[in-house]
């Protein structure tokens, strides 16, 4: 009998074989049962075939990070088994049909629960039902009631043809019964349950967190071109465009996207684009335009491994410095990097506020791991979006680029007031007309760059997670935060803390204080060249020689960071 507080289940199989369906069913069953859930996936850049895997953690305590460890493995074919082999230990329980999964001379280091999937699925209606069969089986192992499982199936397939619903119920029941026959010591028991706490929560992934944040931030316009892993934000806003009165347009390319969004923003609505590496590269000229015409824009940049097309469906934190310096010429910007789902919501909302208040481009940096990971979370709370520099009604004397102390000019829009709103990608005077005066040029450069000071002052400080008087401080940013935090807990609860940067540029000037006490610092980044380390260096004169870097295209696991931290502090 597996008795743990925290069980990790891995589903693995080729694209198109339904592991997502199994995932959805299991997650909804576990949720209903009152467990904490975390799930994430890694998948290939293809529509059918290959090997993709989903890791689900089911726990009686809050879990938010990827682990390597597999407690229960459900591989749909032999290739799938090979795909995750390095994660299998003696304590793993593999569920599946022995003959399909193993070749004669292969010795699995762990028990296998041999399920006659071929027969069972044939009895149900075909191989495509294997995913539902194993779902029933796993549910049984977790001591879920049969009727509960069946009702989940009904709910999930309810919109389909009756025959199909019936077959799926049949499939899940056969799986359930197969599970029942298994030895009782294969049963799983989660040590404690915390039902009540979770009941009111909801499950969202990173893509949804960012999308909800955009809506909360008052986004009314999104123009984008599909690109993994950034597309979910476009599809989410498109799906709910009508409900939230948003224009969601798929453009011919990324250049059109950012320029169209800038037009919409110029005309008065909060606008965004969502993109990834190569698409962002194409937007850099438009980014520079936003800087010049001081027109707010939010850019969601979901990173994936580069250069070029790279690994389209995998993860990396490799575009940070590019994001920081992208666009020709000199102009201010802000880069936010949510690591928690809550931050995905809050920071994206804040991105719209900052963009509006300072009339600048604001980047929200995520990555595939962040976008595709989810866990249960309290129901996010909305509020009327703060908007200091709200659009003003213009008068006849209106000047779009009137010089001001803080570099911010009152923002008018066409069709609201008696003034003319004129913007120009050339250097321009206060009215927005092309100029070649070097005096005006100097004033305008200074006007634009003046915003940097206030932005730095307003910068979100990093979050200190752990004991204030730690010996070792582990520095990370964005999507790695939960992984690092869990690892630190394993290594040394008392003497190690995490410093999580959710804003990576500009950096709050107080940051140096954080670095004074700890004896040792370790930097964790999901890239090869420690890009955030360079920012800390050039912006705050902080050097962190000890680094944990990963650039295989995959996210860190808790165990990986744990091991490497142990090596360093040993």
């Amino acid at each position: 009998m597996i008795k743990k507080k925290d069980i990790s289940i891995v589903l693995c199989g080729p694209a198109g074989r339904g592991i997502q369906t199994a995932e959805k069913l299991l997650v909804s069953i576990f949720r209903k049962a009152g467990y904490h859930i975390f799930a994430t996936k890694e998948y290939m850049s293809r529509v059918r075939g290959g090997s993709n895997s989903i890791t689900i953690r089911v726990s009686s305590e809050s879990v938010k990070a990827l682990v390597d460890r597999i407690d229960i493995l459900i591989p749909l074919d032999r290739i799938a088994l090979g795909h995750v082999e390095h994660r299998i230990s003696e304590e793993t329980l593999v569920i599946g049909e022995k003959d399909i999964l193993l070749n004669p001379d292969y010795k699995l280091p762990c028990p296998i629960m041999d399920v006659p999937l071929t027969r069972l699925s044939k009895e149900t209606g075909g191989i495509i039902y294997s995913n539902v069969i194993v779902t029933g089986l796993v549910a049984r192992l977790f001591n879920i009631e049969k009727s509960v499982v069946q009702s989940h199936i009904k709910q999930a397939f309810g919109h389909k043809d009756k025959k199909i619903v019936g077959r799926n119920i049949d499939a899940v029941s056969r799986g359930f019964d197969a599970g029942k026959q298994m030895e009782p010591d294969l049963r799983i028991e989660l040590r404690t349950r915390t039902m009540s706490e979770i009941k009111n929560e909801f499950l969202i992934n990173g893509g949804e967190a960012v999308s909800l944040g955009a809506i909360a931030g008052g986004c009314r316009f999104i123009a984008s071109y599909p690109m993994t892993p950034s597309t979910p934000v476009l599809t989410f806003l498109a799906r709910h465009a009508e409900h939230f009165q948003i224009i969601a347009e798929q453009t011919e390319d990324e250049i059109a996207a950012i320029n169209m969004a800038l037009g919409a923003s110029y005309a008065g609505v909060r606008s965004m684009v969502t993109t990834s590496g190569g698409g962002f590269a194409l937007m850099t000229e438009g980014l520079s335009l936003a800087g010049m015409i001081e027109t707010p824009i939010v850019i969601h940049l979901a990173q994936r491994p580069g250069p070029a097309t790279g690994l389209p469906t995998r993860t990396e934190q490799g575009d940070l410095l590019f994001a920081l310096y992208a666009g020709h010429g000199e102009f201010p910007r802000v880069i936010l990097a949510p690591g928690s789902l809550e931050d995905g919501f809050l920071l994206t909302r804040k991105a719209f506020e900052l963009a509006d208040n300072y009339q600048i481009p604001v980047l929200v940096l995520t990555d595939q791991y962040y976008i595709d990971s989810y866990y249960n979370l309290y129901r996010l709370q909305t509020e009327k979006s703060k908007n200091r520099a709200t659009v003003m009604k213009t008068d006849r004397k209106y000047k779009r680029f009137a010089l001001s102390k803080d570099g911010i000019s009152p923002r008018g829009i066409p069709g609201y007031g008696d003034g003319f709103v004129e913007v120009d990608s050339d250097e321009h005077d206060e009215e927005g007309h092309i100029t070649e005066s070097s005096t005006v040029r100097i004033n305008m450069v200074e006007k634009r760059l003046k915003k940097v000071e206030a932005l730095a002052k307003e910068a979100l400080p990093p979050e200190w997670i752990g004991p204030k008087d730690c010996e070792t401080l582990v520095v990370c940013w964005g999507s790695t935060v939960h992984i690092v935090t869990e690892a630190v807990r394993h290594v040394n609860q008392e003497k190690m803390a995490v410093l999580y940067f959710r804003q990576v540029y500009p950096i709050s000037p107080e940051v140096q204080d954080y670095f004074k006490k700890p004896k040792q610092m370790i930097l964790v980044e999901n890239n090869a060249t420690a890009q955030f380390g360079r920012i800390l260096k050039s912006e705050c004169d902080l050097e962190i020689p000890k680094k944990i870097l990963k650039y295989s295209g995959l996210a860190f696991s808790v165990e990986e960071i744990t091991r490497q931290l142990q090596d360093i502090v040993a």
């Binding site: 909360a216 009165q245 250049i255 320029n259 169209m260 000229e285 438009g286 129901r379 066409p414 004129e422």
Partner: protein, 285 residues
Amino acid sequence: MDQNRYDMKDIDIAWCPGCGNFVIWKILKKTLDELNIEPRDVVIVSGIGQAAKMPHYLRCHTFNGLHGRALPPATGIKAVNPGLTVIVESGDGDMYGEGGNHFMHTIRRNPDITNIVHNNMIYGLTKGQASPTSQVGFTTSVQVNGVILEPLNPIALAIALNASFVTRVSTTDEDQMNKILKKAIQHKGYALVDVLHPCVSFNKVNTYQWIKKNTVRLEDTYDPEDRSSAIQRALETDKFSLGIFYIQSGRTTFEANLNVYRDSQEPLFSRSSEPVRLQKFINQL
């Protein structure tokens, strides 16, 4: 011309004396005035080039964006505030070269904007390289042995893409330009107005005289509603016909298709945010 509501005070116009741009400028102001459109309701969007400097010489709202990228912001502006009259000013390099992809896809999108292209068959601002409409054999500092690429035929292209209004006019026929521009602005949907005009500084081939000689008005009996004859006329190579080649009146505009305007005509910018609606949505997820 008399003082009109689009005139600006104290402007230093960067165009060369004698350039066709002045004619387009004059006619544009006149046409907008005659149409009785208020400057406060007009946004002129442009890219970069000599033609694209136009917004600086008219009293109205302006968005002078990036080279080749006038159409996307124009579409964005029109989408969030359909009450505005949106006019795109561009050059042949700006629109058909750097901006070619937006040209094609904006035609497909069909926002209600008027796209005026100052077609001088050359890159003026950068001092005289070939543009997509430069004729074969035309020599420049880059095309030292003459242009070898097939000139782009914007009229045929726009009709092939089923643009909803396609016209070619010329600064050598101001009267026609004025009349047609009026119709183009009034047209609901994307309207291409390709204007032949001489670049007196760099294009020593396609001069005022050359344009005069090589253009002819479409006959009065010509029916612009017939796509098939429109494209035939567009493909003619002996002379450049002037006039409205093609009108497709029935087509819905991009904005009209947007569901944000299904129940309300209020421009998007003035709608207030609804945190309660979002909270409800979140609570139901």
